[in-house]
Symmetry: C2
Subunit: 218 residues, 2 copies
DNA sequence: GCAAAAGTGTTAATGATACACCCATGT
DNA sequence: ACATGGGTGTATCATTAACACTTTTGC
C-alpha cells in the first residue's frame, strides 16, 4: 500500500482567441492506439518535476514562448483512460495571447494545429472530456478572474471582444450596453489607434487598464 | 521517461457547518515526521482505484456514512511536500451535513476531531495550504453551484445560514435583505417548526425548495 | 418585566435592459 | 453614392442597499 506507483501525465490545453473565435492546439497522433486521431499534448511526469514544470517543458515543444501562465484544472483518473495501463492525467490550461503566439516553426500543419473549439476533429483518449472541462474553467475564469486579459492583453477591438464572449457563453450581448459598461467601470482605455483592412468603419483599439475584471457575463 | 512512477495520495477535506461555523475534520499524527501535529486524512492511491474511489474508502474510516459527494480540487506536486520522497497529493472536498454526520465511534477525540477553520492547530505537511485552497473552492461553490444545500439540506434557521455565509465570505449581510431575497426568489420554504432551547425569540426552520441557488454573495 | 435574539416594510440609489439613428471607411 | 460594420444616448425597469421598530421566548 505504501509504495504503490502510478503513472502520471500532464495534459496541456492551449487556448487562443483568434478573430473572436476560440481555438485549441492539437497534435496529430501517428501511432496506435488512436492512430490518425488528434489529441492534446501530453507528457509523463518525472518524480523530479512539479506538474507545472513538466507542462512548461512540454509547452516549449510547440510555442516559441514559454511565458504562458498555466492554470491547473481537473485530474482524470478513470481506470479506462488508456487501453492498457492506468495513467492519471492532470489537465493544465494555458492561454496564448495573439501577440505572443508563434507556433514552433519546426512543426508542420500535419503535426500540430489550432482548431476552432466549435469544430473539433476526432479526439483520442478522454481528451474530448478534458477540453469540455477546460471550457467550463475558461467561462468561470473569464467571469471571476482576469483570464480575459490573458486572451486579450492589448490592442483589441470591442466588437472582437464581444464576439469572443458571445461565443464562449453562447449568448447575445447588446453592443451599446457592453461598451458602456466597460467604459463606465473604467476597465479599458483607447490606445488611440484603429483597426485596419476590414470592411466598414474601422474599430478603435483598446487595452485593459487594471486587474479588476468583469463580474458577470452571460 | 515512459515508465516513470509516482506516488499519489488523496487528501480528504471534510467540512461541516456547525452553529454557523465552518469546521474541518483533522486527525492526530502519532509518528514522525510532524509527530504531534494534526493533518487531513490521506491515502495512497492504488493503480486499481480512481481518485474518487480511493477517497471514498478513506472517508469510511471516519464517518458512519459514505454518502458524502466528493469534489475534486487542486493537485499538489511541490517537490518538498514530503521530507523524503515526492508524493503528489490530490485534494478532495466533501461536505458533511448536520444530519448525516456521525463520527465513527471507534475514534476517540485524540485521534480525529472537528476543528473550527478560523482556529486551526499546527498542521503537518502542506495541509494548511490545501485547506486554504479548499476554502476558496467552497466560496466559489456556494456562490455558483448548490454547495450550500449540501451544508444545510434541511431544517436550518435563517440567522444560522446568514452567520455561516458571513463567516465564509468575511462580510456582513443585512438580515432583512437576506431574508427577503431568499423568500422572494422562492429558494426556501418554512418547515413549520421552530428552533428550541436558544435564548431570545425562537427562529423558524426552513429548507431549500429547489436546486437553483444563490448567484452572488459577499 | 427585562434581556436576548428574530421578525418585518419602505425608500433611495444603482445597475441592467431595450431600443434606432448617425458615422467612418473601402469600393 | 452605396454597402459594410462601428459608434453613440436615453428612458424604463429590476435589483440592491440602507435603515429602526416590534414580537416572541426564557429567566
Amino acid at each position: 500500500m505504501k509504495n504503490q506507483s502510478n503513472q502520471i501525465e500532464t495534459v496541456l490545453n492551449l487556448f487562443m482567441a483568434h478573430d473572436g473565435r476560440l481555438e485549441v492546439l492539437l497534435i496529430h497522433k501517428e501511432e496506435e492506439p488512436y492512430k490518425g486521431y488528434w489529441m492534446l499534448p501530453t507528457s509523463s511526469v518525472l518524480t523530479s518535476q512539479t506538474l507545472e514544470e513538466n507542462a512548461t517543458l512540454l509547452l516549449k515543444n510547440f510555442l516559441s514562448s514559454d511565458q504562458v501562465p498555466l492554470h491547473q484544472n481537473h485530474t482524470f483518473s478513470a481506470l479506462d483512460r488508456y487501453p492498457d495501463e492506468r495513467v492519471i492525467g492532470v489537465s493544465l490550461v494555458g492561454i496564448v495571447d495573439t501577440i505572443t503566439w508563434q507556433l514552433n516553426e519546426a512543426l508542420s500543419d500535419q503535426e500540430a494545429k489550432w482548431f476552432e473549439v466549435a469544430n473539433l476533429p476526432k479526439l483520442a483518449y478522454d481528451h474530448s472530456e478534458i477540453i469540455e472541462k477546460s471550457l467550463e474553467m475558461l467561462q468561470m475564469g473569464v467571469k471571476t478572474q482576469a483570464l480575459l486579459t490573458q486572451f486579450y492583453p492589448a490592442d483589441f477591438t470591442l466588437p472582437e471582444l464581444q464576439h469572443f464572449l458571445e461565443m464562449l457563453f453562447d449568448c447575445e450581448i447588446d453592443r451599446r450596453n457592453f461598451r458602456k459598461r466597460l467604459l463606465n467601470e473604467e476597465l479599458i482605455e483607447e490606445t488611440g489607434d484603429k483597426e485596419k483592412g476590414q470592411m466598414g468603419r474601422p474599430a478603435k483599439l483598446y487595452r485593459f487598464k487594471e486587474n479588476k475584471m468583469l463580474q458577470e457575463i452571460g
